[in-house]
C-alpha cells in the first residue's frame, strides 16, 4: 500500500472543509507527483488557497485525508478513527513543506539574512555558521546577494517575496507551496518573483502554486487544476487545457482572464 502511494508527493483524498455553515471545500481530490509543478487557478473564493493551506495544516480539514509522501497529516489512524497529533508532531510534519504567502510575512524584527537563517538555526538546530552559509547561498540564488543586512521594511515588495522564498527553501522542503505569491506586488515587480519561481521549477522541486498568472501556468506548470465553488472542476496539462477547456465553467473563467 505504501509503495503505491509514495508515487505521489501530495495526495489529498475527498477533502471537505466547513467554516461554520459555509462549505468551502466540497470533496476535493488532488494528486501531485514528485517534481511536478501543479498550478491551481480559479475565481476568488473558489477554495484554492484553503486547499493549499490544508496541505501544511494551517487549516484543519473537516473530512478526508491529506498524505505527504504517503504519510497521513495531522492524525494517526487507528481502527478507523483519527487521533490528533501533538503540536510538536504537527510542527515536525510541517517541515516537509515550505510556504510562500501572498503578503510575504517576513519577520520584521530580523534582517533578511536572519529571516532565512531562522529555520535552519532555530528549527533544525544547525550551528549558526552553517545556517548563515546556507542563508547566504539562498539569498544569492534568489538574486539578493548583498541584501542580507537589510530589514524587510527596507526592501521592495519583490525583494521581500524573494527573501520569503529563500526562507522557505532554507528548510529544504519536499514540497513548496505558493499562495498567490505575486498578487500583492506592483505590476513591475511581478516578473522578478516569477523568474525565481520558474528557476525553482526547472530545478525539479515539487510545487503547488495558487495564482492568477495564467501565463505562468502555461509556461511553467505541468499540471493545471481549475477550481470553482469548492470543487476541482477540471484538471489536466496546462497547454491543452488552456487551449481547449472541456468544462463550460473553465471556459467561462478563462474567457474572462485571458
Amino acid at each position: 500500500m505504501n509503495a503505491n502511494i509514495s508515487e505521489f508527493c501530495v495526495e489529498m483524498q475527498n477533502i471537505h472543509k466547513f467554516y461554520g455553515p459555509v462549505h468551502a471545500l466540497k470533496g476535493v481530490d488532488l494528486r501531485v507527483r514528485r517534481g511536478e509543478v501543479c498550478v491551481a487557478i480559479g475565481p476568488s473564493g473558489s477554495g484554492k488557497s484553503t486547499l493549499l493551506r490544508c496541505i501544511n495544516q494551517l487549516e484543519s480539514i473537516s473530512a478526508g485525508r491529506v498524505l505527504l509522501k504517503g504519510e497521513l497529516q495531522g492524525y494517526v489512524e487507528r481502527d478507523g478513527r483519527f487521533h490528533p497529533l501533538s503540536s510538536g508532531q504537527i510542527a515536525a510534519q510541517r517541515r516537509m513543506t515550505g510556504m510562500v504567502f501572498q503578503r510575504f510575512h517576513l519577520f520584521p524584527h530580523m534582517t533578511a539574512l536572519e529571516n532565512v537563517m531562522e529555520g535552519p538555526a532555530h528549527v533544525k538546530g544547525w550551528p549558526k555558521e552553517q545556517a548563515r552559509k546556507k542563508a547566504n547561498e539562498l539569498l544569492d540564488r534568489v538574486g539578493l546577494d548583498g541584501f542580507g543586512g537589510r530589514y524587510p521594511g527596507q526592501l521592495s515588495g519583490g525583494q521581500q517575496q524573494r527573501v520569503a522564498i529563500a526562507r522557505a527553501l532554507a528548510m529544504e522542503p519536499e514540497v513548496m507551496l505558493f499562495d498567490e505569491p505575486t498578487s500583492a506586488l506592483d505590476p513591475e515587480l511581478v516578473g522578478e518573483v516569477l523568474d525565481v519561481i520558474k528557476d525553482l521549477a526547472m530545478s525539479g522541486i515539487t510545487m503547488v502554486v495558487v495564482t492568477h498568472e495564467i501565463g505562468f501556468a502555461r509556461e511553467v506548470g505541468n499540471h493545471l487544476v481549475f477550481m470553482d465553488q469548492g470543487q476541482v472542476v477540471e484538471e489536466g496539462h496546462p497547454r491543452t487545457m488552456l487551449a481547449s477547456p472541456q468544462n463550460p465553467r473553465t471556459a467561462a473563467f478563462l474567457s474572462k482572464v485571458l
Partner: protein
C-alpha cells in the same frame, strides 16, 4: 524652517536643465513672534514662582537639605527601589504565564487566567495588601500534606510571609493582572500571518512565542509597561497596609511626624520619586530602541 533637501523632497522642485545645475529654492524662514512672546511670559512666571518658593521660610529648605541624604531616607529609597523591581519582576513573570494561558487550548488554564485577572483587578490594592499582612493570622501554619492524609512538612507562616514578602507578593500579583491585559493587547496587535509563517517553517508553539511573537509585541508592550513601572514605584507607598515600614514614604512620614514639619519631607520624598522615575525613563528609552529594530529604521522617521 524646512531645509533645502526637505523642500526638494516635498515636491517644490525647480526646473533644472542639467543635473549638476539644480537651482534650489530660496526659502525665507517663517517668523514665529508668538514663540518669543511665550518665552517672555513664561520666563517671568518661572522667575516669580522660583523666587516665591525659594525665599518662602515655610518650605524649610534647610531641613530639606539636611534630610535629603539622611541614612533613614536613603535606606527608604533603597527599599522602595527594591520593592518596585522585585514586585515588577514577579508581575512580569506571572503576566507572561497568564497571557500564554489565556491563549492556550486548555480551557482550564484559560479559565484560571481569566479568573486571576478578574479577581486581582477587581479588588483594591490596599485591601489586598491588608489581607497579605493578615495571612499569617488567618493561616498560622503552612503545611505540605497529602489531601486528607498525613502532613509532610509544616512551617509557621510568619517565617515565610515576612512583611517584605507580603508586600512583594501583594504588589506583584495585583500588577500582574494589569500587565496581562497589556501583554494581551501587544500580542493581539500582531498580524496573524507572523505566527502562520513561523508554523509553516515547522516551529513549535513555545519557540514561536519566544522568537517571533514576543520580540514584536514588545514594541507595543513597553510604553504602557513603563507607565505601570512608574505607577508601581509610587504604589509601593501603600505597603504600610501590610504593614511594611521601611519604604521611602514611611521613612519621610516618620521623620516629619517627629519634627512636625511635613512640607520639607514631602519635598524630599517627591525629589527621590522624581529622580527614580527619570532613571526608569532612561532605561525605557534604551529598551524601546532595542525592540524597535526593523521598524524604526526608516530614515525619514525621526528617532
Amino acid at each position: 524652517m524646512a531645509s533645502d533637501v526637505e523642500n526638494i523632497a516635498t515636491g517644490f522642485k525647480p526646473v533644472a536643465v542639467e543635473k549638476p545645475a539644480i537651482t534650489r529654492n530660496i526659502v525665507v524662514p517663517r517668523r514665529h513672534p508668538g514663540r518669543w512672546l511665550a518665552v517672555a511670559v513664561f520666563a517671568i512666571l518661572a522667575l516669580q514662582i522660583g523666587q516665591a518658593v525659594s525665599v518662602n521660610p515655610n518650605f524649610h529648605w534647610d531641613v530639606y537639605l539636611t534630610y535629603l541624604f539622611s541614612p533613614q531616607v536613603i535606606r527608604g529609597v533603597g527599599w522602595t527601589l527594591l520593592l518596585t523591581v522585585v514586585a515588577m519582576t514577579v508581575a512580569i513573570v506571572v503576566a507572561g504565564l497568564l497571557v500564554v494561558m489565556r491563549d492556550s487550548d486548555n480551557p482550564v488554564l484559560r479559565g484560571i487566567a481569566y479568573g486571576w485577572v478578574w479577581f486581582f483587578r477587581g479588588t483594591p490594592i490596599y485591601t489586598q495588601l491588608l489581607f497579605w499582612g493578615l495571612f499569617a493570622v488567618l493561616f498560622p501554619n503552612l503545611s505540605l500534606a497529602i489531601p486528607f492524609g498525613p502532613e509532610i512538612v509544616s512551617v509557621e507562616t510568619k517565617y515565610i510571609l515576612t512583611p517584605a514578602m507580603a508586600a512583594i507578593l501583594g504588589l506583584g500579583f495585583n500588577e500582574s493582572a494589569y500587565l496581562t491585559e497589556i501583554f494581551r493587547a501587544g500580542f493581539n496587535s500582531l498580524d496573524r500571518g507572523q505566527a502562520e509563517a513561523a508554523q509553516a517553517l515547522g516551529m513549535k508553539p513555545g519557540k514561536i512565542w519566544m522568537r517571533i511573537l514576543m520580540p514584536q509585541a514588545m514594541r507595543v508592550i513597553i510604553p504602557p509597561t513603563g507607565n505601570e513601572t512608574i505607577g508601581m514605584l509610587k504604589m509601593t507607598s501603600l505597603v504600610l497596609a501590610v504593614p511594611f515600614t521601611l519604604d521611602l514614604t514611611f521613612a519621610t512620614n516618620a521623620i516629619s511626624n517627629r519634627l512636625y514639619l511635613p512640607i520639607p519631607l514631602l519635598l524630599v520624598a517627591g525629589t527621590w520619586y522624581l529622580a527614580i522615575t527619570s532613571l526608569l525613563m532612561v532605561g525605557q528609552h534604551f529598551l524601546e530602541r532595542h525592540f524597535g529594530k526593523g521598524v524604526s529604521v526608516h530614515p525619514t522617521r525621526a528617532e
